[in-house]
Symmetry: C2
Subunit: 430 residues, 2 copies
């Protein structure tokens, strides 16, 4: 007997027929004797519809009322799933955010989960009743409805799994796991059966949009074993597993196939490059650029400071999310007297490509191999950042697919079925 | 300064543009210095959509989960109205059923309102903030979501008005008041500026579907002054009033134009006639018919027991709602050995036409005048029931419009604008 949290996304909940499919999966776990809590998203499209109403009502809507409106989508699907489960002979009831309660901060529209009353839920679950819980929603100490921000249902599921000390948190979605890279770019991308929290964080934040980043961070902090799998496809690995398990590094055996140097190749087209030309080359100059951007809550990612010109000035290049480019340019223009630069140029035709893997911690040469592979194909690198488990480069967007394919092959990530020699290559790379 | 409850139905809340129209009306009252609570329905069509989901999920849905699903429609509109009011510079917030709370019985899907916490709401309203309250919903003592049954938002509004000792409960709908009869049948039907609770109960329950019957009963019990008016039309009476006020009999002045003998003519096509042929004419025979029907929760309305035949048997005729005809016939067939009748015949091509008015309490001859007027036009009466303030007859449905017109004229109910002599006729009739 295990305690399991299952989470189903919007495409899995879109319409009663699909909810029946979800219910069958839930009932299977309940029939196997497990204690089950299910976290559900709104039907796909519903949250957009409700957000659209709020925006039409007023572009400057009160986030407290926005939360009342948009949280209704998950309320509907949780009631419907409870009905379908009961109709299948499976004891079930819905527990709304305020009923459990799921306590959150009062940062409406992007609240953070504080405490979850594990006692109420534990009693319900140990009584053999499936608890159906709307994701994305919670309640403040003052009793106002909150939501966790888009994609928040993943975070709800992980938080509930942590509070209930669940053995597993299964995130059902419309893909069957986490891949070494985007299969639309590399058809022979390989599904990973295990990936570490740290790798998943890097893969998610740079573009592999399977799980909400916040939920992965929470899972890592709370040591929740998360599994990503498809609600539409029952295919299993050769070792009988479904989906991708996201776990601590200690759970991935030394020397195993999983313990490769590089886990995956991610890419992200949502960055824009800004270059500030001719910044005075003196101490504190860089702070005058980045402090005002930070004050405006603009996330700066890659930063490159060029060698100083003979004129006593230097160029500074960095990236910001495309959505914040206009605001960033405004801030810089306003600060021009303080910073004292010549001019600002920007470029949105860029992509960030990253190689990710915990293996590189104990292995030199990953970055060098990356730069060489790209150079061999004539791909120019505009900026570089590295972390312990990631090397990212900024390139012109036209080279995105080529760069991903080149790196995927270079690190030997191809699926073994069609090209067993690629696995050998991967093994030799570690 | 008055304390006002305003209620807006589904057509008034259908889409953001209409919600803006609602908000303007609310703001007007708030700007006039009144304390305002607004009760809202779901957007028209939304409750049907949600009920449809539940039925598709399972015809035998758990009403507790049904309530979770269908209550979301009003949650959405209450949040949206609060947003629009704020955008117009009017302080406002939504209060969900569980937040106030609006305590109800645990008869899910048709719960009855028990207690409303007037203190919380009173504080909010006296602080100059419009309280936006989703109609139709409440919460049990155990903290489960309930709904009041279709049309329940009217009842929510009246209950809140009673709890808050509001000076007025304004029910905004898509008609501009209560008419002497259906204007689609009698174009010169007159809008009533006042009507008593008792009359409204009879008019509503026999077909003038402006207000939910339960809400009128509650208003009568709690002495809430209810006004029905249009949210789309600002037309006023010659005396400057809008809509129809529903009040106690004592508020309608003796000898005033309002104090007519007959207030209105209603008709109802939702009845079916059942005749049980040849029931043994002995004591207790009637009980054997109506007890099992009552046990099956089938509402029997008009009952006529004919004179006994020479054979020692009698025929019994009565009406039931058309929706319950099949069930009623089943019950009777099952009870045939006990009742001992010959056969059952039924007829759905019937209409109940009623004349309603508190004036008839102190005035004889209303029924006689009704029978004569119908007989003069050759309309056959199939059954009759009377109450203190109502006389109803069952006729063949083909004669519905004719009967309504004949009676509307006979009691002088025509609007005065086009036929002032009709008013004289009405005066002479009292």
């Amino acid at each position: 007997m295990a305690r399991i949290v299952m989470k189903f996304g919007g495409t899995s909940m879109a319409g009663i027929e699909r909810i029946r499919n979800v219910a069958r999966r839930v009932k299977e776990e309940a029939d196997a004797g497990h204690e089950v809590a299910v976290v559900v998203s709104a039907m796909s499209g519903e949250t957009d519809r409700l957000v659209g109403f709020c925006r039409e009502a007023s572009p400057l809507y009160d986030p407290r009322e926005y939360d009342v409106v948009v949280s209704s989508g998950e309320q509907v699907t949780s009631g419907l799933l409870a009905i379908v489960l009961q109709a299948m002979g499976c004891k079930a009831r819905s527990w709304l955010g305020w009923q459990l309660p799921i306590g959150t901060s009062d940062a409406h529209a992007s609240a953070r989960i504080g405490t979850i009353d594990a006692e109420t839920l534990g009693k319900a679950m140990s009584g053999g009743e499936v608890a159906v819980i709307p994701g994305f929603q919670g309640v403040t100490a003052e009793g106002r409805v909150t939501t966790l921000g888009r994609g928040g249902s993943d975070t709800s599921a992980v938080a509930i799994a942590a509070a209930m000390k669940a053995d597993r948190c299964d995130i059902y979605t419309d893909v069957d796991g986490v891949y070494t890279t985007d299969p639309r770019i590399v058809p022979r991308a390989r599904k990973l059966s295990k990936v570490t929290y740290e790798e998943m964080l890097e893969l998610a934040s740079v573009g592999a949009k399977v799980l909400q980043t916040r939920s992965v961070g929470l899972a890592m902090k709370e040591r929740v074993r998360v599994r990503v799998l498809s609600s539409f496809d029952d295919a299993r690995d050769e070792d009988g597993h479904r989906g991708t398990l996201i776990v601590g590094e200690d759970e991935i055996e030394e020397g195993s196939m999983e313990r490769q140097l590089i886990t995956g190749i991610a890419h992200d087209k949502n960055e824009a490059k800004i270059t500030i030309v001719a910044v005075p080359d003196r101490p504190g100059a860089v702070a005058t650029i980045f402090s005002p951007l930070a004050d405006a809550s603009i996330n700066v990612d890659m930063i490159v400071q060029n060698v100083a010109h003979d004129t006593g000035s230097t160029d500074v290049t960095f990236t910001v999310p495309k959505a914040e480019l206009a605001r960033a340019l405004d801030v810089l223009e306003r600060e021009r007297p303080t910073i004292g630069f010549d001019r600002v140029v920007h470029d949105t035709a860029v992509t960030k490509v990253s190689v990710v893997g915990v293996g590189m911690r104990s292995h030199a040469g990953v970055a060098a191999q990356m730069f060489k592979s790209l150079a061999d194909r004539g791909i120019n690198i505009l900026a570089i950042t590295t972390s312990e488990i990631k090397v990212s480069v900024l390139i012109h967007e036209d080279y995105t697919e080529l760069a991903v394919r080149v790196l995927h092959t270079a690190y030997g990530l191809e699926a073994p079925e069609e090209a067993p020699e690629a696995v050998v290559g991967a093994a030799s790379a570690t």
